[in-house]
């Protein structure tokens, strides 16, 4: 068991910088997710940790041992590749036994450990089969088994369940989380699926174009994103952004929109921010924090653009001013296209961003924003 640490890792492929000064520390036994869109450098990060890529700058540590130049096979880390990379000519048993054979483990011991791993993953009835004769989910388990069987210091998973169909993905998600908790080993999990990252990980690192944006607990990522990119990457449907204008006077800051006006309490973050009078800015609000059909003094008029029932909830696309704002409503809210409705925003979940997308202030439950509809 071991923690994994990257220090200022930079990796270039020709003129492309895949990783730019990436640093993070994964604690021993932690479930650490790296989340980002395709091409963000997630896979390169994993390949650097396991040693299939050598960083141009920076170092990789396992616990406090520097392993930057160590041969992958000597690092005692296992990896599950996105395409699984099972050995197609070997049976399931052969696949699971392979890492142990390489380590010259005694035959009887190999047998025992393969059997134990296979039972844990419920594939012990498949040991004689070749990978080609397995279903997608079964192959998945074989790949996990091959990674688990030699009880490495850390696991690296590269989008291991993204190719499975939706139902299986739901099942594997909880199973993986359970498995990691039971094994108690360090797991670095790369994914582009925010639901996987949010639901499984202890902490999440958001990666974009080779640069770490934020490393935080799932709640932190969700409720206090450092920028617009992070805010968009997590949450489904993603956060709404409403363009507004800053009005600053006498140290007080207000955010103006044709339909409403938000007063921002004097707050260190605001005072330190580059926002000044007349500048454009963005208000961010998550769909579940937009209430449809609200009454009250701070309700705003909106028109239903489209209503998308999902069964357990309904996504309502609202025309608010000249923007579409998505709201997540309980299924009891029944609205039809072009209905005129009133909506309210949960101010304790409001976010303020600069026009460039840097977060200035997230309410995160606090009472820092006050909204007043503009009188007509």
């Amino acid at each position: 068991m071991a923690g994994v640490r990257l220090e200022g890792v930079t990796k270039r492929f020709g003129s492309v910088t895949a990783l730019d000064e990436v640093s993070f520390q994964v604690e021993d036994g932690e479930f650490f997710a790296i989340l980002g869109p395709p091409g963000a450098g997630k896979t390169t990060t994993l390949r650097t940790i396991v040693g299939l890529e050598t960083p141009d700058e920076g170092d990789v540590y396992l616990d406090d041992e520097r392993v930057t130049d160590m041969w992958p096979g000597d690092r005692d880390i296992s990896i599950v590749f996105q395409n699984l990379a099972l050995y197609p000519d070997k049976s399931v048993y052969g696949n699971l036994a392979f890492p142990l054979v390489q380590q010259k483990v005694a035959k009887s011991e190999i047998k025992r450990r393969v059997q134990a791993t296979a039972e844990m993953l419920h594939i012990d009835h498949l040991l004689e089969r070749k990978p080609g004769k397995l279903s997608g989910g079964e192959r998945q388990r074989v790949a996990l088994g091959r990674a688990m069987v030699r009880e490495p210091r850390a696991y690296l998973f590269d989008e291991p369940i993204s190719a499975l169909d939706a139902l299986l993905r739901l099942e594997m998600r909880t199973e993986l989380k359970r498995l990691q908790r039971d094994l108690g080993r360090t797991l670095v999990y790369v994914t582009h699926d925010q639901v996987e990252a949010m639901s499984m990980a202890d902490r999440i690192a958001i990666l974009r174009e080779g640069v770490i944006q934020q490393i935080d607990l799932p709640e932190g990522i969700y409720h206090q994103p450092v920028n617009r990119f992070v805010a968009t990457v997590v949450g489904s449907p993603p956060m709404n952004f409403i363009p507004c204008t800053v009005a600053a006077s006498d140290g007080a800051l207000r955010v103006q929109h044709p339909l409403f006006d938000v007063a921002v309490s004097a707050h260190d973050a605001v005072l330190r921010s580059p926002l000044s009078d007349g500048m454009p800015c963005l208000l961010g609000i998550r769909p579940e924090d937009v209430r449809v059909g609200a009454a009250g003094s701070d309700a705003l008029p909106a028109t239903v653009y489209v209503s998308e029932p999902l069964g357990g909830e309904t996504v309502v696309d609202l025309q608010l001013g000249n923007r579409i704002v998505k709201a997540l409503a309980p299924p009891t809210v029944k609205v039809a296209q072009d209905d005129e409705v009133r909506v309210s925003l949960d101010l304790s979940r409001l976010h303020l961003f600069t026009d460039a997308g840097d977060a200035v202030l997230s309410a995160a439950g606090a009472d820092v924003f006050a909204l007043r509809p503009t009188a007509r």
């Binding site: 992958p72 996105q82 099972l86 050995y87 197609p88 000519d89 392979f98 990978p131």
Partner: protein
Amino acid sequence: MAAVEAGRRSPAVARPASRAPAAQLKRAGRWIAITVIAAVFAFPIYWTVTMSFKPLPEWNPPGKVFWVPHEWTLDNYRSIFGIQIGGGDALGDILANTGRSGLPFLKNSIIAATGGTLVALVIGIFAAYGIARFRAGGRMLPFQILQLRMFPPIAIIIPLLFMWVYIGLWDSLLGLILLYGAVTFPFVVWLMRSFFQEVPREISEAAIVDGCTQWGAFFKAVLPQVKGGLAATALFVFILNWSDFLIALVMSQDRAKTAPVYLQSLQGGASGQEYGNQAALAMVLILPPAIFGILIQRYLVRGLTFGAIKR
């Protein structure tokens, strides 16, 4: 049937009449064309097979054509394998019992072709893996290797002849083996490169992470997956070497003379055209590749890597 349910749906137009007659005619025409074309290609093989079983009087009698042998005989094969014949047709005896045998030349062919194939495979496989997996030699190397095959061997055979005579490899099996290996290794590189490219890079990496060296990953994880392609490549190269005539003709005289060269020498001379013996030797030459082909047929079909990666 739709009309019965007219209350439910009302399809006003009936289903169009069957186009069957026209389609059947088209089908028949297609089969006739295929049969005719196939017959044109199959005829030489048919002629060789039947000829090899014909006694001498049926080989090429003036003004007559024997479409099938009237008197089946194995004498031609006995002659090729140097088996003495007693009795039987007098003229055939004269030709058959000359003490000649094709066996030494068949042996030479087997050694030269197999040896050349092994040389080409060993060099070619490593070159191909290096190119496919590590882009060894840069983008142009594969093309440069292929270029070796772009000019006819005859163009360099004379200088090679002098070289081989000078270093004492002329008319030796080793000399032929080296030449066969050199001439066919570009094919190995090109064929194996494409097979290696189909093996996901992650498979060799998985083996490395599992504790293999680079060599170990190649032999234990990658090579087993291309064994089908390897078999196909080996067969292809073996056939090229096995059927070589030109190089063996120039590069051997006596000790290293191969069966195809011997086949040619059965022609002409005092005995005239030895069609029957030639056909028998030709049959012997056709058989090995045909048998190997059938044996490794299942490997010739690609798709062994199926299941290795998610799709």
